[in-house]
Amino acid sequence: MFRALYFKEWKEKALLFFFEMGILVLLILAQFVFREKKDIQEWLIYAVLMLFFPFAALILGAAGFEAEYRQGAWAYLFSRPVGRGTIWLAKFAALLSMLTALWLVFAALWAAAPGIREIRAWPMLGKAGLTLESVIPWWSILLSVFLLTVAFSLSLLHERQFNILFVSIGAGLFLPAAVWAVMNSRAGGFMAWLSPERALPTFLVCLVLVALAFAAASILALAKSDFSQPRNLTFGFVRWFVPFLVLALAGTAAWALLTPVPGGRYLYHFAFSQGDAYYVTHRGVFKYSAAADRVQWLAKGKSFGFGWAMDSSGGKIAYTAYDIKSKKDIEEVLWVVNADGSGRKKILGRGVRENEWPQDVSIMNLLMSPDGAKVAILSSSYRNKPKARRSPPLWLAYADGTRLESLPDDPALFGDARAYCWVRLVAWVQAGTSVLLEKRTSPSPSSFSLWLYDLGGRTARMLLDNAVTASWLSPISPDGELLAVKYQKGLKGPWQLAVLDFRTMATTDITGSAAEPQGQVSSQISWEPKGTRIAYVSRRKQAEGPDVYFLVVYSLTAQKSLAERRMTKTEGAAQLYAPSWTGDGARIVVLDREANGLRIFGPDLNETERIAFPPRMGPPYGLTIVGNHALVQDNVTDSLWRCDLVKKTWKRLY
Amino acid sequence: MRVDASSFIPIYEQIKKDIVRRVATGQLKVHDPLPSIRDLATEIIVNPNTVARAYRELEQDGLITTQKGRGSFIAGRARPDAENDLNAYLGRVMDEAIAEARKFDLGESAILGLFEERLRRNADRRKRRPA
């Protein structure tokens, strides 16, 4: 029965099909005729994909119910023992087969002429923001199937093919264009130009769902309508179509919101020792409170919304976000909010102090003062060449929004003529009277220097020699006055760890000294909460064989290591250890990938217990301790897990 | 055979009458086969059920017999009573004519005169045609 209907359709539409096939073959032959002229070839392919297939599909679809109308065979067809849904599907299957046959012929060309695939310049599409798949134009195939479905669904309603074609062009081209326009607008989150890798799949999903809406409405109109009543058919179609269209659009929105996009998630995470951790994801700013074991959503944001600058201290959080009104109107905005999420205040941008902030300069880096009253800001103007630079890069903003101060430029710090210069605010030190900055330059000789900018005197002073190359800086110690630096003198010198005390401005070498003669610190250090001890991983050479790794606890007061423990052999696992002290200073937690879990040691480095990673967690990367909880990052999947060290349970926060 | 669908006489009655008449006039003899229901129905363009009913009633009356698979035949008993049946049949026909005439309040002599006239006309017609 289905087959009888199917083949009848082929017989009826044979003329139309071969006509379309003829045109396609002509276009393809032209490809070979113009073998030498690449630009004509390009244009022809473009014409085939963007013009021929859409119109071929529309014309095929519009012919769907033409025979029944023209030859007056409705009553005959309906009085046969066959369901109306079957009738619809058999027709659609036949039309789809014809379209597929056309595509197969095109695919044969695609396969036979490798030169075709090299045509990459798709100017119009590039302007539309579409990125093409490299091999097969799936989007064109899907668009043609979409148009076929729309035209066929509508062909049920009217006997004149031309009218159907007209309406189908309208619906079939207007709807996708409308969806694309929404995706370019604020309502659609500017998806098309902010995350095009998400835009194209969303667009295609929309086409599929809308096509299904048309088809469903058409089938139901065919099955349920009373053909004897005037206009019953059209009303029936509209009545079914509207709710289905709403569902299709809702489905598209759901897809856009809920499907993960590689790179669409991000996790920017940092922690503070007051038992709270703050992190930024594509959804906004979150606070995790260890005491309450609760995540609080402090600031909602769209995926494009957040800048990378954020800091928290003294019960407040400052962060930047982008306020996008349109493609040409994007502004960076600086917000301050209390740690409990209340009192959110815009202190810079989009209507606030706009004339005080220089044009075309963004916030590179910011630091909140320990009392939470001020925010130190480093702008991107330091990267401009000295002549071009208009504004000094350092600013001081008051968290209550009352003042914005431009700090005088110090040419010694910022006036570097060399090609590449990178500056970062490190910490507020000396009871909040100065800020520490690190500066790196290149090309060779590349250099590293540490500077202190006195907020009172408004001058900068270099602390560490320019001839020192530093690998990394540790976080500032819990009391805010110590900083560890891993450095080497010159390019060939041994790596050493030094601790800088801002109260005395004295530097003490830890390794490379009598206390730690052989090894070098290979991982970031962790300050014990009271600040008298540090934990780190040391790498030591052997007489023969690969280097070995040791976990070390070092006392700053006694100036010697208190405990050592030999750890795993592989370097890769060792790099990830991230030894961290718990808040009470009683334990050190280590992330051991080879052991597939957290290992917990006492201060004497005797292992007290292990907590295995949960099976669903990806490869763990970073470890931070907040109160009695460990936060583990997974940079592969961009997720954040927390482990309750007492209860030994895991929960995924993001 | 011909039936008049618009007559008040039911079709099956007309069929029965026709068969009886033929038997009475000797056109159909004992053991002669009757046309099958289908053939007769198709020929005179009537519902086969109607033909079937006529045959059924004739069978009940004993005029025909039906043998499954072989068809219907004039029953054997018809022959000895042929003479009587003819009289009975013709008598019935004449009774009907008389009843019709009575409807118009015709008297006996009028009826008789009418009959004689029809007889004479019939004789004239028969003389003009070869026997």
Binding site: G72, A73, A75, F78, S79 | S6, T42
Partner: protein, 238 residues
């Protein structure tokens, strides 16, 4: 005689105008039903509702005891339909049409169809649109009968045809009746055909049946021709 089709309280409106109103009918298998009615009074509507072409607004139809509703299609395998307007795909040839139609009916008899074509002198290669009205009618009958239907609906098929053609048509119906005992619903406003073959008389007026009786009984009671009976029944009451 078993009950083949039962129609109860069937109703259908076109716009606000009621065409069928509380229509009841029980069809017994093997009998010929003649449905008389004036033009536009609902004969075709009834046929279309029974064939599932249009839906009824109210009421119930049961075939062989099972309720049939608008979307059902299986029961149509046992129904034959010869409508007033020839309604095939005009572009198909006779052969193609028969082959196409055959695929829908499990009981389709190819030989019967072929012999009917010969008998009707229909050229299998001719296109439907080139056939005369009478030929299309015969084709319609061939198409309906080759599927060996249990129930045959004839919706005023003979209107506009000359007498010999009508007689041929009737003969074919009768042949079919004699061979398979098909139940027939013969809807028409032309009474001549009905008198010869109908067993049960139905008269449709005002949306429902005003007569549903054995034909012989009606004739005996009225002592008039069917034509006269019909006219008197459906005359507008002054």
């Amino acid at each position: 005689m078993s009950e083949l089709l039962r129609i109860q309280h069937l109703s259908k409106n076109f716009g606000r105008k009621p065409v069928l109103k509380d229509f009841d009918l029980t069809v017994e298998s093997g009998r010929v039903y003649g449905l008389l009615g004036r033009n536009g009074e609902g004969k075709t509507t009834l046929a279309r509702i029974l064939m599932g072409v249009i839906p009824a607004d109210g009421g119930e139809v049961s075939y062989k005891g099972r309720r049939i509703s608008f979307g059902d299609s299986a029961y149509k395998r046992e129904f034959g339909y010869v409508p007033e307007d020839p309604f095939f795909y005009e572009g198909m040839t006779v052969r193609v049409l028969l082959d196409f139609n055959a695929r829908f009916y499990p009981r389709w008899d190819r030989k019967r169809a072929a012999s009917d074509l010969e008998r009707f002198a229909l050229d299998p290669k001719s296109r439907v649109r080139t056939l005369s009205r009478g030929m299309k009618l015969k084709l319609g009958l061939a198409v309906a009968l080759a599927a060996a239907p249990e129930f045959l609906i004839l919706d005023d098929p003979t209107s506009g045809l000359d007498v010999p053609t009508r007689q041929d048509f009737l003969r074919d119906i009768i042949r079919e009746l004699a061979a398979s005992g098909t139940t027939v619903l013969f809807a028409t406003h032309m009474v001549h055909e009905l008198e010869r073959i109908v067993e049960r008389l139905l008269v449709l007026h005002g949306g429902r049946l005003i007569v549903d009786e054995d034909f012989e009984a009606v004739k005996a009671r009225y002592q008039a021709s069917l034509e006269d009976i019909f006219v008197s029944l459906v005359a507008d009451k002054a």
